[in-house]
């Protein structure tokens, strides 16, 4: 599932007094006050692992009942379906996950690579998790797929590659980002700090 350590380190940095646990124990997840749900790699494998470790119910419960932050594939898994491996997600949010087109080009005709990798601008709407973060601040992305929520009112931020795509969504106690706040320097740490202080 990629690098959980990075998320852990960044959370320790913004919440030095909090107890931060990296776990695959459903009971620990269920007893946590806040849950961060990172994911990296491929969605089919992430879904398979979630079930193999018996975590589906604990994650569904957490996503319904307390501050919950999905990161990258952890965002994508909240949706109903992903084109990556043609798999079903958790279906907490309506919508699907689709791939960037191959053969995309920028305004100068240069080929745009997939995965979309690097620092891109994030254009956000009002939400407590964006407090103190500049409009169009850059965050670090690495992904080939992105979410398409059915309900446009869930969209909290978009980015461009070259077309606009959704890179953050929220619903009640849920927040999800496509980029990696744990690797996005001061803007990313600020978002994580906002999350640990968020009381939806």
């Amino acid at each position: 599932m990629g690098n959980l350590r990075s998320v852990e380190q960044a959370l320790r940095n913004v919440a030095p007094d909090a107890e931060i646990v990296v776990t695959d124990d459903p009971e620990v997840i269920t007893s946590a006050k806040r849950v961060v749900f990172p994911g990296q790699g491929a969605m089919p494998e992430c879904m398979r692992e979630l079930d193999a470790r018996g975590l589906r119910d604990a994650v569904l419960l957490a996503a319904r009942s307390r501050p919950f932050l999905g990161i990258c594939i952890g965002l994508q898994m909240l949706f109903e379906h992903s084109a990556e491996g043609d798999v079903a997600g958790l279906g907490i949010l309506h919508g699907k996950v689709v791939r960037f087109d191959s053969n995309m080009h920028d305004a100068l005709g240069n080929k745009l690579k997939v995965p979309h990798m690097g620092w891109n601008q994030v254009h956000h709407v009002q939400h407590p998790l964006w407090d103190g973060i500049e409009q169009d601040a850059r965050f670090y992305f690495v992904h080939s797929y992105y979410v398409q929520p059915q309900d446009a009112s869930l969209v909290q931020a978009t980015s461009k590659y070259p077309q606009s795509f959704v890179c953050a969504v929220a619903k009640d106690n849920l927040f999800g980002v496509q980029f990696h706040p744990e690797k996005s320097h001061t803007a990313g740490l600020k978002l994580l700090q906002n999350f640990v202080q968020w009381n939806p």
């Binding site: 690098n3 690579k113 990798m117 620092w119």
Partner: protein
């Protein structure tokens, strides 16, 4: 839009950052943790660490360095050098690396790229290609820090590792490395045009115009440099400002 990345590279041996010319004549450049912190403050988009330790006894040193850097620096960290098996990838990720760069072992055992990408995701697998020009528009892949010829054509090899699941290519021109006369722009352009995945250009940066050329003429998605930053010629921020003045999208 997506910014072009500037990646300072730290060659590490015996716990120190060093820099050589064409892979030899090493010169000490300082403490890796301190240097990483400085580049982070200057706005580096990513950091690359290359463990050039010859002896396997010293392999533990790089893990400790990465662990220390990862608690203080919250940008992507790429680590390479001496990665031979999936277990090495796991250990580096656990130490705090976000991406692991594989070079010689990928040539000896291409399945390693597929296995590592399958296990940890393409996003964290970088394949490093050391290429040397052998004819007009022809480059050969070398391994073992540039000592061994492989007979592999660099373009064909790049396509193959993309198909195996590499998420990114770190392309070093051995002819240019340490020479400070600029990237091999034809090589860079040829490889980047042949691939769907991002290419980091490396080898030969001597001034800031070289970085601009790597992006504009070479078509690189990211540019990597070592000595121009280590020895205080330019800061990362100066490099980014120069690129921005030349209409390259950067994160300032």
């Amino acid at each position: 839009m997506l910014a072009k990345r500037i990646i300072p590279c730290l060659d590490v041996t015996a716990g120190r950052v060093v820099k050589g010319v064409s892979f030899v004549e090493l010169r000490d450049a300082g403490d890796p943790v301190e240097i990483a912190r400085r580049y982070n403050e200057q706005g580096a988009d990513e950091l690359a660490f290359l463990d050039i330790t010859a002896s396997s006894d010293d392999r533990g040193i790089i893990y400790r360095i990465i662990e220390q850097v990862a608690t203080q620096v919250f940008i992507p960290l790429t680590v390479g050098g001496g990665v031979r098996e999936v277990g090495d990838v796991r250990n580096l990720l656990n130490a705090g690396a976000d991406k692991v760069s594989i070079n010689t072992a990928a040539v000896l055992n291409p399945q390693l790229v597929a296995d590592a990408a399958g296990r940890y995701g393409s996003q964290c697998i970088v394949v490093a290609i050391d290429a040397k020009q052998t004819g007009p528009d022809r480059w050969e892949v070398f391994t073992h820090g540039g000592r061994n010829a492989t007979g592999l054509d660099a373009v064909e090899w790049a396509r193959k590792i993309q198909d195996l699941g590499a998420g990114e290519i770190l392309l070093t021109s051995m002819d240019r490395d340490g020479q400070k006369n600029g990237f091999d722009l034809v090589l860079t352009r040829t490889i980047t045009d042949a691939l769907e995945i991002p290419v980091i250009a490396s080898g030969g940066v001597g001034n800031l115009q070289h970085l601009v050329d790597g992006v504009k003429k070479g078509g690189a998605d990211a540019v990597l440099a070592a000595s121009i930053f280590h020895f205080g010629e330019y800061t990362v921020r100066q490099a980014k400002q120069f690129m921005a003045q030349h209409d390259i999208e950067v994160r300032l």
